[in-house]
Symmetry: C2
Subunit: 189 residues, 2 copies
DNA sequence: CAAAAAAGTTGTTCTATGTCAACGTTTTTT
DNA sequence: AAAAAACGTTGACATAGAACAACTTTTTTG
């Protein structure tokens, strides 16, 4: 049950078994179904999630009600609504499992307690932040000046698992293009 | 000379004078002129900069040679090409002072030495990462689905100093619109 | 301080892509 | 298993904004 998380943590840093057990002990498990909302946009994010199985989507809605996908996290990754988690302000974004998923989660209180008391955990958090930053940069700036076809090619190259696991509609909203345009581009290879 | 940096550090966390002096001692000063390149896209970023006076721009160029502005850092802020600084790979982006500037800088080696040995400095780094992440998110996702006029209004509201200190051309490339479009929008208020 | 270069403005034209609609297909619900 | 809902595809049409160009204004340089 916690073995995937254990593996993840061990890969990131040197951890003796006792510290590992300590970290693990703060995580709880939750099973969710397809399209289950974990966090509403008016809520304050209290948990950090680790995905054992499934997929978490981070998205927003505009005034017209269109969904806008920001991020997809797949198995063996952490995900949360970080700005809200950090600043404890309403998230203004949603967290949702888009498939039946098995998640581990840790409360913010416990998370920051670990960051404070376990240097290796602090290091892991720093790495999560660094990576999150780099990935977000790459993704978003990578798209700058791209036309729709280039965006699709970028996804095929850099995040092919996304096309396999996620509906066209969501991919389109992730790329900032309309579903029809995505459909047309895909048909032209 | 280091007083702005000292003020910045003290505001971020509790620091005794000795630790403060230790941190400060790793910074060197550099004076740059308008449009001076600090980092080329094929270089690996070795320094973290703190801006005493002036402004650093982070930008890229596409195959046609058009400049694309990613970020502007003004006085009393840190700036670097973070992905390259972290991973020590070619930056694929440029750092440039767009005005005559006075900068403090610390080498990557010294920076990570401080992160490792001074917990308060590690905390400051974590905060820089958290903030960087949040700001980048806000900026970029804030623009999602915005038309050109909405982007300009967003800037006026959230980063008015940018319009005052930066050329229209650079602002346009930051917003992902053409200079002519920016000009037209501004004329219609 | 004059000449040259860069930046800003404004009109015209052109194109990528959004929007809407119709239809077929897949998925979900009961 | 049938009905309903959501999704994907494709065509027709409309439009925001890019590209280009000509001109003016500002900035930089020798």
């Amino acid at each position: 049950m916690f073995d995937i998380l254990e593996k993840f943590l061990k890969r990131k840093t040197d951890l003796d078994d006792l510290t590992l057990k300590k970290i693990i002990s703060y995580f709880k498990i939750i099973h969710t179904k397809r399209n289950q909302i974990l966090l509403n946009s008016d809520e304050i994010c209290k948990n950090y999630y680790f995905i054992n199985k499934g997929c978490i989507r981070l998205f927003t809605t505009d005034k017209e009600g269109n969904e806008n996908s920001r991020y997809f996290a797949f198995k063996e990754n952490f995900a949360t609504a970080l700005p809200s988690f950090i600043d404890q302000k309403p998230a203004e974004e949603y967290l949702q499992t888009i498939q039946k998923s098995e998640l581990l989660y840790i409360s913010r209180t416990d998370f920051y307690y670990l960051v404070k008391t376990v240097p290796q955990f602090a290091k892991i958090y720093t790495e999560i932040l660094e990576n999150g930053f780099i990935m977000a940069q790459k993704r978003i700036y990578g798209f700058q000046g791209f036309d729709a076809a280039e965006k699709v090619k970028w996804i095929i190259k850099h995040q092919p698992e996304l096309l396999l696991n996620v509906s066209n509609k969501m991919v389109a909203s992730y790329l900032g293009i309309s579903p029809s345009t995505l459909s047309r581009i895909k048909s032209r290879l």
